[in-house]
Every structure is written in C-alpha cells, then in structure tokens.
C-alpha cells in the first residue's frame, strides 16, 4: 500500500493534495453549524449530476415526446420514479442549503477582504444554479413548465430597442417551442452544470483554501495557532453527520411527500392556448418573483429583480466596517435578522396574488431589501461595536 502511494507521489502530488486540502486543511475550531451548508450544497450538486445523467438516458427533448417520456420514466423505468423524484426535489435541498450558506456569509461578513473572490464565485454559482433550475423546469413540458418559460423569457422583452428581437433569438422561435426545449436541454445537461457550476465550484474551493475559512468571531486566525485544528477528523465527522441529517429529511420528502414541492398543474401537458389561472414559481424563486411584481413598471420590475441579486456583488464595498461578524455589531445584527425575516415575507408575498394588502406588503418588503444595502455603508461611522475576544480565548 505504502509502495503504491510512493510510486504515485513521485509522479503526482496525491498525498500532498489530500493532506493540504482534506486531512490537514486548517479549520477554525469555533465554527458553528452555519458553516455546514457549503458541504451540504456540494452533496446536492453531486446528487443532481448523478440522477441527471440517469434521467438523460430516457428523457426525450422533443415537444411531442417530452411529457410522455417523463411519465415513461415514472412508470416503466426500473426505479425511474425514485431517480426522477430525487432530481425534482434536489433543487429544494440545494437552494435550502445555498440560502443558509449565503445568509451565513451575510451575517458574519464573510464577503469582506480577503474573501471577495470567494463571495463572487459563490454568486456566480448561485446565478448559474437559478438558470439551471429554470431551464430544467421546462423539460417535463407541463403547463407550468411552458408558461414559466414563456414568462421568464419575456422578461427580456423589457430591454429597450432590441428586447423583443432578443426574446425571439433566446427562444429560437416566436413562442416557446421545440427549438427552446432543445437548447434548454442542451444547456441544462452540459454547459451549465459541468462547464459553469462544476468549474466555478472548483474555483470557489480553491479560493477558500487560499484564504482559509472564516469563523463566527470574524477574527483572522493564525493557521498554526491554537484556535485552528485539522479538518480531519474533526470537521469531516461533523460534516458527514450533518449531511446524513439533511439527507434523511430530504429522503423523507422524496419517499413520502414528493408532490409537496411539485406543482400539480405540471402533470398536464403544455398547452400554448391556455394560461393557468394562478402562476406560481418554485419556492426558491418566490422572493425575487415578489420583487418583480412589486414594481408597477415592466422594465422597472425586471431591473429591480436582477438588481436585487446583482447588488449582492457590491457587498465587499458597501460594508466597510473594520469588523466582520454581526455578532459584535448590534445594529448590523438586528438589520440582518430583519433582512432574513423580510426575505421570508417576500417569499410569502410571491406565493399570493398581487393585490391589496399583499401588494402593499410586497412593496414595503422590496423597499427594505434595497434599503438594507444602502444603510450598510453608513453603519461603521455610527455603530457602537462590542469588544472582540482574543484568539487565545476561543
């Protein structure tokens, strides 16, 4: 065994890589459970890739065959129902982990120098994943698939001058059709997952291992100091146990409540002549959907929606505080918890029809969403911060 290892190491830095990035990767010993969701998201990515490879074997990206091929998978393929439910509920787990992972970054100021690239590569993964989820949603060719694709591609018609032509170019047809399905399938199964998400995940982890993990205090810990311990066995164990816990919940829904997260209307084949009465997006898009509908102007709504994600990229420059963690910043702490609550309210607004109280609530929440980012730069001058602990006391 050690002979084979030696043979390998003379030709390829296997042991070096494993020690540097896994077994001996220096990890702050004070990480709390909010630091677990990155690895959970990674596991969901792996699940999506594996189940996706299997679904691609039987799925047919052609408008006359797509819907039936999904039913064929559900009824005829051995364990096809399992593989498809795993894949259909995967995004729920993935976005759940990702939102908590990003919320952790927001609360503990993980985006601050020197972790800007870590934050930005993370945002690229988030954006690519949204595109990935949206394109994958068209593939079953149900009513919701069709109309979601119609509405979302139509967003781009709000672009001045060339918007409408751009939409036709995006769809490859005057309405969502076979050309659209073909390109969505291609991008969903090749370029986006492997070329973008997979690649940027590698960049994300490479950047992480250059700067090291943050920690709840926001202190830059000495990598050889007493507050830092090796990844193995401490965090491997913690990650594995937590992943098992999350997978248990995920599998509960896969086996017992798969339809809880699936839209019943999507079990009707797409009909270009009938729009469903109540259009709802998947839960993980609801807050952004609410922002879109809160602005009574076509271009304005689209800009607000994309802006709400884009503004996250400016966080390293909006938050200039010398302290990272909201734990020692009483004002940021309250504002950030309110931001999370507000995000959930936006989700609730997105779930309901936009009039009356709901519309008003949506507008207030949208305003708070952006206000948060405008207040952040003003905080450092006024906020009375709490004393930081010493590294040796951790």
């Amino acid at each position: 065994m050690s002979g084979a290892r030696e043979w390998m190491d003379r030709r390829f830095p296997l042991t070096e890589f494993l020690e540097r990035h896994i077994t001996n990767y220096p990890t702050p010993k004070n990480l709390n459970y909010w630091w677990n969701f990155g690895s959970v998201a990674g596991i969901f990515f792996v699940i999506q890739v594996i189940t996706g490879v299997w679904l691609t074997m039987y799925y047919k990206p052609e408008t006359r065959l797509a819907f039936d091929s999904v039913e064929h998978i559900m009824r005829d393929v051995n364990y096809g129902w399992l593989i498809r439910y795993l894949h259909a509920l995967g995004p729920t787990g993935f976005f759940f982990a990702l939102y908590l992972h990003m919320g952790r970054g927001l609360y503990y100021g993980s985006y601050q120098s020197p972790r800007e690239l870590l934050w930005w590569t993370g945002l690229i993964i988030f954006l690519a994943l949204m595109a990935e989820a949206f394109m994958g949603y068209l593939l079953p060719w149900g009513q919701m698939s069709y109309w979601a694709a119609t509405v979302i591609t139509n967003l781009f018609s709000a672009i001045p001058f060339f918007g409408p032509d751009f939409v036709i170019w995006l769809r490859g047809d005057f309405a969502v059709g076979d050309a659209t399905l073909g390109r969505f399938f291609s991008l969903h199964t090749t370029l986006l997952p492997l070329g973008v998400i997979g690649l940027v995940v590698v960049l994300h982890l490479t950047a992480l291992h250059r700067v090291g993990s943050g920690n709840p205090t926001g202190l830059e810990l000495d990598k050889k100091g007493p507050a830092v311990i090796p990844f193995s066995p401490y965090f491997i164990t913690k990650d594995l146990w937590f992943i098992s816990l999350v997978l248990t919940c995920y599998l509960f829904f896969v086996f017992f409540q798969p339809d809880l997260f699936l839209e019943p209307l999507n079990y009707e084949p797409a009909d270009p002549f009938v729009t469903p009465h109540h259009m709802v997006t998947e839960w993980y898009f609801l807050p952004f959907y609410a922002i879109l509908r809160s602005i009574p102007h076509k271009l304005g709504g689209v800009l607000a929606m994309f802006g709400s994600i884009l503004i996250l990229a400016f966080l390293p420059y909006l938050d200039r505080s010398a302290l990272r963690s909201a734990r020692y910043r009483p004002v940021k702490r309250v504002l950030t918890w309110l931001f999370f609550l507000n995000f959930a309210v936006l989700g609730y607004v997105g779930l309901n029809q936009p009039f009356g109280t709901i519309l008003l609530l949506g507008r207030i929440s949208t305003a708070y969403y952006f206000l948060y980012f405008l207040v952040l730069p003003l905080l450092p001058a006024r906020e009375r911060v709490k004393p930081l602990p010493k590294e040796g006391e951790l």
Binding site: I50, Y58, Y79, I83
Partner: protein, 212 residues
C-alpha cells in the same frame, strides 16, 4: 478530603490509563462501524441506479405477442419480430420430419432429440439468430447449400442447421435457441413470457421452457 494513600493513587493512575485505552478502542470501533454502515448504504444506493439500466417495463411487457399461423403453408417459414429479434416459425412437411429423424444424435455437436425441439412435429418456433455471431440464417426448404437436408443456412460464416434448428455444420457452437410459446388454438400462437429473457434461461429444450 483526607489524602489518599500512595497505592490508591497508583491504582487510580492505572485506571485512568486503562480508561484512555478503552476510549481509543471505542473510537476505533465507532469509526469502523460507522464507516461500514456508510459504505454499505452507499453500496445499496447504487442498486436502483444499476437496475434502472435494465429493460424498462414496457419492453418487458412487449415480450408477449400473438401470432396467426393460419396462412402458413407446408414447408414454408415465416419471420416475426419478437423483442426486436427475429423468430422463425416453420411449418415442417412430413418429409422434413422424417429427414430430421434420420440424423444420428452422435453426429451432432449439440445433441437434441426431435421431440425436445418442438411441441408439435409440424411446427418449429425458434429464435432466428445464428449462435455463432448473431446473423440471421435463411430458410432453405429443399437443401441447405452443401448438404442434402432442408434447414437454415447462415450467410455470414456458413453455419448450417436442420429443419429443427439443430446445428449440423460450420462454426456455430449450439442449436438455434428456443423460446416459450403456446398454442392458443390450431392457428394461433402466443410467443414469449414477461419473465423470459432468452439469455439466462434454458433455451435448448421445449419441455423446460417457462410456460407462455
């Protein structure tokens, strides 16, 4: 508390050592058992994915079909598609039956009695796939090229079979494979069963095939 005696203290030290030792063993045990359970679980998780690669239910269901043989004349053969594979149905003439009976079992590479190959002497039902490399042999009601027997001839590598699909000459190692069938009435056959795959089951004797 009164100070303990030296011996007691030494015993306590020993006990601590033992405890440490026991704790390490417990850790090893826990690591090993959880690794075993985890690896076992991952192994089990591969089962649905491997099974998903097998034939789907609609393909299995399509493995049962009915064939009308009322138009089949004596000495004629018909090829029907069953599970995307050719099946030969031959109405054997009395002469063919007699000719096949005269072949000595000892001269066959894959010996089989005539009654082991057919349910009714006048009708042969078998897979039309040469057991050499999978080509489709052709039916020669008069004489197989190079022989004085009616039967099948495979153009790919010269495999020769009699009117019972028994290998007579050439490279094929076995007789043409049989498959389950049943007479629904004098003119109607049901071919195949949902379970029968044609690869892993007995394909040499009509009597041992699953009932269609």
């Amino acid at each position: 508390m009164p100070p303990r005696r030296c011996a007691g203290r030494r015993n306590q030290g020993l006990a601590m050592e033992e405890e440490k030792f026991a704790a390490l063993n417990r850790r090893d045990f826990l690591t090993m058992t959880s690794a075993a359970v985890g690896l076992g679980g991952m192994g089990l998780a591969t089962v649905p994915f491997l099974k998903a690669l097998g034939p789907t239910r609609d393909i299995i269901r399509a493995g049962v079909m009915e064939v009308d043989i009322s138009g089949l004349k004596e000495g004629e053969s018909r090829v029907v598609m069953w599970r995307k594979q050719p099946v030969f149905i031959v109405r054997r003439s009395r002469e063919m039956v007699e000719q096949a009976k005269r072949i000595a079992l000892s001269s066959l590479r894959d010996p089989a009695q005539p009654e082991e190959r057919v349910q009714r002497p006048d009708l042969l039902v078998c897979l039309g796939i040469c057991t050499h490399l999978g080509c489709i042999p052709s039916w020669h009601p008069e004489k197989v090229p190079g022989l004085d027997q009616p039967g099948f001839y495979c153009p790919c590598h010269g495999g020769k079979y009699d009117s019972l699909g028994r290998r007579l000459d050439g490279p094929p190692p076995e007789n043409l494979h049989l498959l389950p069938y049943r007479f629904l009435n004098a003119n109607k056959l049901r071919i195949g069963t949902e379970k029968f795959t044609g690869y892993s089951e007995n394909i040499r004797k009509v009597q041992e095939l699953p009932r269609a």
